[in-house]
Symmetry: C2
Subunit: 343 residues, 2 copies
């Protein structure tokens, strides 16, 4: 079992080494380790024994080179300030790993990184590319599509590029429900805080918000925009709004595009002593949303199902459906409730 022989450690054990020890040819070794290959059971046994003894681990680069599959999947991520990304990453990598796939993570911060990162994915023969809620503009996604024909799946956002597979949550219905909840409890003056423009229009959340307002003839709304999905940005943008607005003109409800922005917003309100005077909602249901310090009313996304679906599509290309939107689940806590009357 344990390789006690020190010279095994000196260099990588190759199929030829195993062949020599087992007294067969290099190719018989391949066959012994392949299910369903034509080989005498007895010599298979001998090879397996030898392989174990030497601690043989086939070189996957070599295998990938000749076969089609490399068993590597590229994960393209950005917006790494949002803790939600950690959850997504974690679940995605776990599920990939479970299926015997490796995760090549490509972090994008500037647009220029983008092309180079993808070139790399292609050069490493990645079996597929998963976009995890990236803020990339559609034209870039389109560019990837034509690149080496790697199956490409966009997750956690929409896109109107044709033929791109999309696996996302129905942000429209989610935010629509949240906004309706605020309307039911009598909120009149609404604000919406979005993230970076390029992705914001691809989440459908802003549209759900606007739709709810329209259905009640509440045309007027304040639109705020954060440049990143980070707590700090949510905080800064909210402060700027509060400082630049007369106190008697404050909105009474702020719908945030996601939790991390909402948490920043709550922090800002708290600091200014306005907690409970503006109702807040988020999206994602971060762990922190359940904290007694925030008690954020929000929507949770069916992460496990989304990721499962995305990987399934990655492995079996040419899916009938181009796009799937799963329903979010409303999580009602108390951040949407007004506890103090505005003066």
């Amino acid at each position: 079992m344990k390789d006690s022989n020190p010279e095994n450690l000196a260099r990588k054990v190759t199929a030829a080494d195993v062949a020599k020890l087992a007294g067969v040819s290099r190719w018989t070794v391949s066959r012994a380790l392949t299910d369903g290959a034509s080989i005498a059971p007895e010599s298979r046994e001998r090879v397996i024994q030898a392989a174990r003894e030497l601690g043989y681990r086939p070189n996957l680069l070599a295998r990938s080179l000749s076969q089609k599959r490399s068993n590597m999947v590229a994960l393209v991520v950005d917006e790494m300030q949002n803790p939600y990304m950690l959850r997504i990453l974690e679940m995605t990598m776990s599920q990939l790993q479970q299926k015997g796939l490796m995760s090549l993570v490509l972090n994008i911060s500037r647009e220029s990184d983008f092309a180079s990162a993808l070139t790399r994915a292609d050069q490493f023969q990645a079996d597929g590319v998963l976009f995890l809620g990236t803020v990339l503009p559609d034209r870039l996604i389109h560019m990837v599509e034509n690149m080496g024909h790697i199956p490409l799946i966009v997750m956690y956002r929409d896109s109107d590029v044709d033929d791109v597979q999309i696996v996302a949550t129905d942000g429209f219905s989610g935010t629509r429900q949240l906004t309706a909840l605020l309307q039911q409890q009598g909120c009149q003056r609404f604000a919406y805080m979005s993230g970076p423009g390029s992705v914001s229009t691809r989440l459908g959340r802003k549209e759900g918000f606007a739709d709810a307002l329209n259905s009640q003839q509440q045309a007027h709304a304040v639109y705020l925009q954060a440049s990143h999905f980070s707590r700090q940005q949510g905080y800064d943008v909210t402060c700027r709004y509060l400082d630049g607005t007369l106190a008697d003109q404050y909105v009474d409800a702020l719908v945030c595009e996601n939790d991390i922005l909402a948490i920043g917003a709550i922090d800002a309100l708290r600091e200014k002593g306005l907690e409970g005077q503006i109702a807040i909602t988020g999206f994602d249901d971060l762990d922190l949303a359940a904290s007694p310090s925030y008690q954020l009313t929000t929507c949770s996304q069916p992460d496990a199902a989304l990721i499962d679906e995305a990987i399934k599509r990655l492995l079996s290309p040419d899916q009938e459906q181009r796009r799937i939107q799963m329903p979010p689940q409303l999580i009602i806590r108390s951040s949407h409730i007004l506890t103090q009357q505005a003066n």
Copy 2:
């Protein structure tokens, strides 16, 4: 520039394709793209032109196979509940990417994953393995060390395995300073909350805490232990302590092994109306630590320097120094200040 020829997209462009177009041999193509190779400037130009026209991108798997380097680095992570991990991952991947290296991320949740994940790293010929603050017991780390001779660097924690490169923050001095700060303002009764046992003893933080207490003859302390580095665990463990202790016996200071636990602890205190009655400190300086809702007094780790050093060591093996501990920086906010007297 743009490959307008549709058949280019049909299959991968190989060096042979470029050679044919440029009217040279396949090997000349290799040379044209290699700096310092002996080649006529004129034919190099021709090759480069042809390569650009076809959109040639050398297959890195093939290159890795024959050369020593694969340009892939395996990142081994766990404890993915802690948002701090996201920052570390982000910075590490960015720095690697900047140096032309790819990140193979291996997520470990159970010990059994561990062996299989590392086997994969080895099979993919990873140039090195970076352990990012993993909770793995030392014996496992030792096992990796003997595996394929991949350079191995343990970050954000210590280990007493010989010959393992360590790049970490001096947790001892950090927590010692934090504890001293609490002592200076008159705290008498201390508690310490640690994370999973296997890593906790490798951070040096608990020892720094104990040392500070000893230096003041304050032998008595309460030790709490969380099973994960997560807000929820920090919260649960604190609640359990508060519920299981008489109110007049509460400690007046709680030193937490890191921020995410501290934030959970503050949440618990807040919920029970005990905010300001127990001083709290953390470690890591999460973004959330700066939130007005927490104002956590903590230590920040020199992430950029740590990661830079780790990668440097990965690339140039046989470093003289086996282990480096960088000093943390004290971040003083207000969570360590007692604002209410205990009844």
